[in-house]
Symmetry: C2
């Protein structure tokens, strides 16, 4: 998205000022059949000097572009800051505080929680409301509501937000409702719960920032941020994608798109790797990556494994896996299991694989005539007896 904006601006600049954007017009003209043949002959004739000139030109082009990019970026940041989003972070635990701190760089953050986090919020320089005063947050107006809670308490937290949201009124357009965002490690569950319970004109964005206060401590650069634009201007994914890109779409849709893009750009600005993925695909992939990692980590974590004097590289990564997965709460592990429909299948496949591996070993055992305790050492013991006869005490 950000790149698209930058490219668009560069394109406009190139058209208005005659500046050649490399990789588009410049490269094309150089590679056009006639001109290219001529150029390559000239290059060959003039040798090194010509090559150096080309390099110098490219470097100049590069530095011009870099300065344009810096300019565009600072303008974009200024734009974001000049029209800051009002973001309510509901649930102000460790993760809520973690994202709120980053949001507060360019946005107005309102912390909301059941437990009293007023002093933490004060230290961070953000407003604080108790969850039971959420109606006041709505009254004052808010662009985005981020639900930062555990998987297990998601639906109960959401239900306590519904009465204030309903005060906004029944058949209002989506512009009146805040965009509702979840950040859970499972996606189909919150998607279903939000679509089923929120007013139909409420925009919904499902996200999974695949990092936390530990892994994102220093920077969010190159960390995965998964999202699905679940419902915008009353249209539910994947149905509305074409409609939304349609220039004839309503003002409502334009407003919704602008707001969700501004929110997403908060993560984009921090350098996140933006992964647009349906909730369904996310859960399918997560069961066979994140959940299986936690499952194996939990199983191995019960073995009391410790470093030995003879650790292999493989075992060192086993110990690392145990450390990283067992430091998370069992609640999270349970949530990944119960609230992702694919996880039970992962457990069943894991158990089956364990049995298959064991069966493979037993099969070889039956065929292994040399196996200890199966009479396989008979030949050797024969030699041993002969040795004993010849070769005195053993």
């Amino acid at each position: 998205m950000f790149l698209r904006v930058v490219l668009l601006i560069l394109l406009i600049l190139s058209l208005s000022s005659g500046y050649n954007v490399p990789g588009s017009s410049t490269r094309n003209s150089r590679l056009s059949p006639r001109c290219g043949a001529f150029k390559s002959r000239t290059l060959f004739a003039n040798g090194v000097a010509d090559h150096e000139a080309v390099l110098t030109n490219l470097k100049t082009e590069e530095s011009k572009l870099m300065s344009l990019l810096t300019d565009v970026r600072s303008k974009k940041l200024a734009a974001l800051r000049s029209k800051p989003l009002r973001i309510a972070v509901v649930g102000f635990g460790r993760f809520g505080q973690f994202i709120a701190k980053s949001f507060s760089k360019t946005s107005t953050v309102i912390a909301v929680s059941r437990s009293d986090y007023s002093s933490v919020a004060k230290d961070m320089g953000v407003d604080y409301y108790s969850l039971k005063d959420f109606d006041k947050v709505i009254e004052k107006g808010v662009d985005v509501v981020v639900l930062s809670t555990s998987i297990l308490s998601f639906s109960s937290l959401l239900s306590s937000l519904l009465p204030p949201l309903r005060t906004i009124g029944g058949s209002q357009p989506s512009t009146n409702y805040p965009l509702i965002v979840d950040v859970l490690s499972v996606k189909s569950h919150p998607r279903r719960v939000m679509l089923e319970s929120l007013p139909p004109h409420c925009d919904v964005l499902c996200t999974h920032p695949m990092f936390g206060p530990e892994s994102g401590k220093n920077s969010w650069s190159n960390l995965n941020f998964v999202f699905e634009k679940t419902r915008l201007a009353g249209k539910t994914y994947p149905d509305p994608q074409s409609t939304l890109n349609d220039p004839s779409s309503s003002m409502d849709a334009a407003f919704s798109i602008d707001r969700v893009e501004r929110f997403l750009s908060l993560f984009e600005e921090e350098g996140c790797n933006m992964v647009e993925l349906s909730c369904e695909e996310h859960d399918r992939a997560a069961a066979n990556s994140q959940f299986i990692t936690h499952l194996v980590g939990r199983i191995l974590g019960r073995q009391g494994l410790k470093p030995t004097p003879i650790d292999t590289k493989g075992f060192e990564s086993v110990l690392q896996l145990i450390g990283s997965t067992n430091s998370d709460s069992f609640d999270l592990f349970y949530g990944l299991y119960k609230y992702n429909g694919n996880s039970m299948d992962t457990i069943l496949k894991m158990k089956q694989a364990m049995e298959e591996v064991e069966a493979g070993l037993k099969l070889m055992e039956r065929e292994d005539v040399n196996a200890p305790g199966f009479g396989g050492d008979a030949g050797l013991l024969g030699f041993q007896r002969k040795n004993q006869l010849d070769d005195s005490p053993l």
Copy 2:
């Protein structure tokens, strides 16, 4: 061992030439109570200049020691080369060739195998004998016989070596027999088989080089080499340790010690991390490190896991684990299981842990009133129904 030799030589040098070995006399005199108190006051008075002088002296000392060390090392290498061991590597597959190549730098290597590897041996510049001509190898004389075979074929290979070894004769001293060395990834099994079947005057060294042609491709530096001096001069570990260090022990024992140390120094010279560990302890540690790593890798390897767009760091190490363990043969995995008495216990504990983890999840499931499909969304669905009434089509 090598360090002990170096330290001994340095000690002798320091006594004869008056050279101060730092860390012994020099440091002690500096830290003696009276002198130390005086020194620290002087240091404080003279400040930076004095500190720099101390540093310069230490650097000079360091470089003198480094040059002595280099000298000792090159002399040691020359000594090894001047009296090269004759080493028969029996079993000349990938691993046999891998160690033979390194041995041949300082030793005379004789390759022996069932399959015809004569051309590989020729390329490596080492002699080659077919296994059925092992009697000729014995006849010509050999210091060390390294059995480089799979766990599964170890006892059958050993039994085919016994007749030629028996020709050496019954009640000869250990100096007449070669030192027999195994390199298996399990240790109690080959130890038992060798002690039970080899002539009682045959020296036995059990080893596990914890690296191979892949991990030791570029260097053996800092790679673990596990060994147990199982039987030397008729004395079996752990019984003979004190006897062997006893200066009154026989010429036989001195010969055995010298030979085993010369062989071990081949690995020491390559920079291996030398780990002296009993076979029993090795197998106990290996079942809870190497075997469990392979077990998990094999189980995970059956799940058809692939990189996803949302891989976590933990999952990346899971994929790495699968890759490294499944590239080894199933025979090796089976060997680690069947020929290590502790491995069955590892499997049982793993299965139990899997059941405990599942039971933990089921327990939470029963208590989780919000769980999907358990009527936990009832509150939400209540809101949803109200919303439906107020808020037109859902």
